[in-house]
């Protein structure tokens, strides 16, 4: 028995306690809270939908295009990250600028999506089916704006050459958050397509 105890302690004893950069860790926890926010929203959607009296409508096709745009921006974000890792500053700057621009384009397309919805006579005020659509896209856009803000800081830092192979924390944080926002949107999009 005491041998067993012994072995357990030996395994856990000499482990270093610092496992991750606290800032990155904070980002992950922040992501958890956003996930819960949307998990609550989508479950509310399902619970409400199960009760019937649900407005059926076609999801405007702009949202499919915007999804592609956001997906591409994730790729350029990754390109920015690998460039930073290789100290390739010119492509870092290009990639991060493109990412930022694609983010803006995405927001614009989401707004067009709303315009389309209004044309379809799906309004924010009315059957919750429509209201939820606006809530999902709106809340996601709100978070995307926060992602753009993070990106601006990384953008400025990259133009000041403060991001390089030995100082990757900032771009890693921006990239992780950006990819998360991308995945979050894809989740919402497929959720809406599947359960609309």
């Amino acid at each position: 028995m005491s041998e067993l105890v012994n072995n357990i302690s030996i395994i856990e004893e000499p482990e270093e306690t610092l496992s991750m950069n606290p800032r990155k860790f904070i980002l992950w926890l922040f992501i958890v809270s956003i996930v819960m926010l949307f998990a609550a929203m989508t479950s509310a959607y399902l619970v409400r939908r199960a009760e019937g009296n649900w407005l059926e409508y076609e999801i405007p096709v702009v949202f499919s295009y915007s999804s592609v745009v956001l997906l591409i921006s994730s790729l350029t974000m990754h390109w920015a990250y690998t460039s930073a890792k290789k100290d390739n500053f010119s492509s870092l700057k290009t990639a991060i600028t493109i990412t930022f621009a694609l983010g803006i384009v995405f927001l614009y397309m989401q707004f067009q999506g709303w315009v389309e919805l209004v044309k379809l006579k799906v309004f924010f005020v009315g059957n919750p089916a429509g209201s939820f659509m606006y809530i999902f896209t709106g809340l996601h856009a709100f978070h995307l704006i926060s992602g753009l803000t993070v990106l601006v800081f990384a953008l400025v830092a990259s133009f000041r050459l403060r991001i390089h192979a030995k100082s990757l924390n900032q771009i890693e944080i921006a990239a992780t958050y950006w990819h998360f926002l991308d995945i979050l949107w894809l989740y919402l999009f497929f959720f809406l397509v599947y359960f609309h």
């Binding site: 004893e13 306690t17 009760e51 009296n53």
Partner: protein, 627 residues
């Protein structure tokens, strides 16, 4: 302006290591990023809120206990809410109940309790210089402050504060025209709570990060004090459940202010049909209680964690079942997310679903009982020192048991149909949540006051405070069980006009009200003791309770960065009390086994060889001091 650290004249070499330049008054005391200052800010704000919150309850207790009494003397405070006849306004009664609940649950027992002790103890007990992000920590307090300021303002507006109960169920809360308390007061409530949620998330994210990433050398998870385990799990609960409340509140805000129909369906109000279609008020209840049930544990777990620490220290015994305590806290935290519908048994839920939730709910009794028995077995044949903190901790165990038992009754969906929304529920949760957590908070203050302010609180006053409060609380809440079984609904302005309540229990209601006033009065002993000891108390010794945890190795009044020089390394668990063979009846966590050959167990002797390895580890020092 001096930094905090220069106050600790007892530790001569503070200055030479403290590489942070002196900061202005504002940065030191107001917009401080130091976890100890933030903790004190939370504590003092929490105490102020509790005075307000409890005063509100005394006001509505006067109404309930003495329905014919003239309340003119309250007019200077309540103004127009006392009507011409000298009676409490009926709408305002509901506002009082709502504000009391909101303030006590969120501002006092969530922010005041976790905010104070997670902030104060996490860095000191895991051996860190400060929280992972001092800035976010400061933001967390100021978001809370702002939330409080808005809630406070809502008390004074013309239509009065929110009045839909602390659970703010729609449609009442969603329709401004439904009730005075659903107008501006409700809007302010929602804004305030949204800020509050942000504050809790910022705080919780910091607590989790600090516990995981900033433990000192050797402080493995199996050596963490149970306080830290409790704060950690509390923060995880908050991180998962508060965003859900935010969602619920957001949808309610849209319903109120933009005319959406998430929670509203075909509804008539004052003879007029509203345009809303297709919403579901039950949806709100699901979202709310998905937070609401974990919230009760967010309130209770930190109190339980501190109790473990205080009981072990003052029973001079290792905590009984350290691992079982952790496992049951994890069990409770997990189960807390899958029992929410026990608050909704009477919403027309499918009875089969009800029985599933009943089953899950009753399982919580198992880890709860494990914890209760572990406290009792830790006390069993201990060398007990009855300090005020210890008395309050034992009081907590008592409330936890007597309130938990009624939880098992309420958890049965068939019984709950009779008891739901009666005073029985009020009795249940005031004992198990209100009183137990408040006792945890008080125990924590008595126990860690010397570390916070460098002075001791007066013990005699502590004893008087304990006995008056302990007896007072039972006198208030025990009789409520009977009133509840008799079918008295909660949140009623008066019971004088219904046949089934007219002629009964009036005297018991008066008795409860008197007991409530008595208990409230007793709290001023504490307030006096707290304020007086802060300035005039006896100077604290280094380790007043002869405790094992790391905070007592820091200077009596720790400066910025907590330890001058290196952070101590940790070699053993925090509960080596009365170890056979040892010189003293306690061995602090930073004493290596190589220094205690007389008391080591065989396997501990083998750990001596690992000590070098622990010492050589990364210093894990945020302030990056030279080795």
């Amino acid at each position: 302006m001096a930094t905090l650290s220069t106050h600790s004249a007892t530790v001569a070499h503070v200055e030479e290591h403290d590489h942070h330049e002196p900061q202005s008054f504002w940065r030191t005391y107001i917009f401080s990023e130091d976890h100890k200052t933030i903790a004190k800010q939370y504590l003092i704000t929490g105490i102020l809120w509790s005075i307000i919150g409890i005063s509100l309850s005394v006001m509505f207790r006067l109404q309930l206990g003495f329905p014919n009494m003239k309340l003119e003397f309250l007019r200077p405070i309540l103004g127009g809410w006392i009507n011409e006849a000298g009676k409490l306004d009926q709408d305002f009664y509901l506002a009082l109940v709502t504000m009391h609940g909101t303030i006590m649950v969120f501002f006092v027992l969530t922010a005041g309790l976790s905010g104070t002790f997670s902030n104060f103890l996490i860095p000191l007990q895991v051996g860190a210089r400060d929280m992972a992000s001092g800035f976010l920590n400061m933001l967390s307090y100021w978001f809370f402050f702002l939330a409080g300021a808005i809630m406070f303002v809502s008390l004074f507006i013309e239509t009065g504060p929110a009045a839909g109960g602390w659970v703010i169920y729609p449609p009442l809360s969603a329709l401004p025209q439904a009730h005075k308390g659903s107008e501006l007061g409700m809007t302010l409530w929602l804004v305030s709570m949204a800020l509050f949620i942000v504050s809790q998330l910022l705080g919780g994210i910091n607590y989790i990060t600090t516990v995981i990433n900033l433990r000192t050398r050797g402080m493995s998870f199996s050596k963490l004090p149970l306080t830290i385990w409790a704060f950690f799990l509390t923060a995880v609960l908050g991180l998962i459940s508060f965003p859900v409340l935010l969602s619920a509140a957001l949808l309610l805000i849209f319903d109120r202010s933009f005319g959406t129909s998430f929670y509203l369906s075909e509804i008539y109000i004052k003879g007029e049909a509203l345009p809303n279609v297709g919403g579901s008020p039950i949806l709100f209840q699901h979202l709310f209680w998905f937070l609401g049930h974990p919230e009760v544990y967010i309130v209770l777990l930190p109190a339980l964690g501190m109790t473990s620490e205080i009981i072990a220290t003052n029973a001079r015994k290792p905590i009984f079942g350290y691992r079982a305590m952790i496992a049951s806290m994890m069990g409770i935290a997990f189960l807390a997310f899958i029992v929410w519908a026990h608050h909704m048994f009477v919403t027309g839920m499918n009875p089969f679903l009800g029985s599933v939730f009943m089953f899950l709910t009753l399982i919580i009794a198992v880890p709860s009982a494990v914890k209760a028995f572990n406290y009792i077995t830790t006390l069993w044949r201990g060398n007990i020192r009855f300090t005020p903190a210890m008395l309050f901790s034992i009081g907590l165990v008592s409330f936890f048991i007597s309130g938990g038992l009624t939880g098992i009754i309420l958890g049965n969906s068939a019984l709950d149909i009779q008891l739901h929304d009666t005073y029985f529920v009020v009795a249940h949760f005031h004992l198990v949540m209100g009183a137990a957590s408040a006792f945890g908070l008080l125990a924590g203050v008595y126990h860690w006051f010397p570390k916070m302010f460098g002075r001791m609180m007066n013990e005699k006053l502590g004893y008087i405070h304990f006995w008056l409060t302990f007896i007072g609380i039972y006198l208030v809440f025990f009789p409520m069980h009977y009133i509840g079984i008799a079918g008295f609904p909660r949140r009623y302005y008066a019971f004088t006009s219904y046949d089934f309540t007219k002629n009964i229990f009036a005297d018991m209601n008066s008795f409860i009200s008197l007991a409530a006033i008595f208990s409230f009065a007793a709290q001023w002993i504490f307030i006096y003791n707290f304020v007086h000891s802060m300035f005039r108390g006896k100077k604290a010794p280094q380790n007043p309770w002869k405790s094992n945890t790391l905070e007592w190795t820091a200077p009596i009044e720790p400066g910025h960065g907590n330890w001058p020089g290196e952070i101590p390394a940790v070699y053993r668990w925090p509960y080596d009390y009365s170890k056979p063979g040892a010189k003293d009846d306690f061995i602090p966590q930073n004493v290596p086994y190589s220094q205690t050959p007389e008391s080591n167990l065989p396997h501990e002797n083998e750990l001596i060889s690992l000590e070098k390895e622990i010492e050589a580890q990364n210093l894990n020092d945020q302030f990056k001091q030279p080795h």
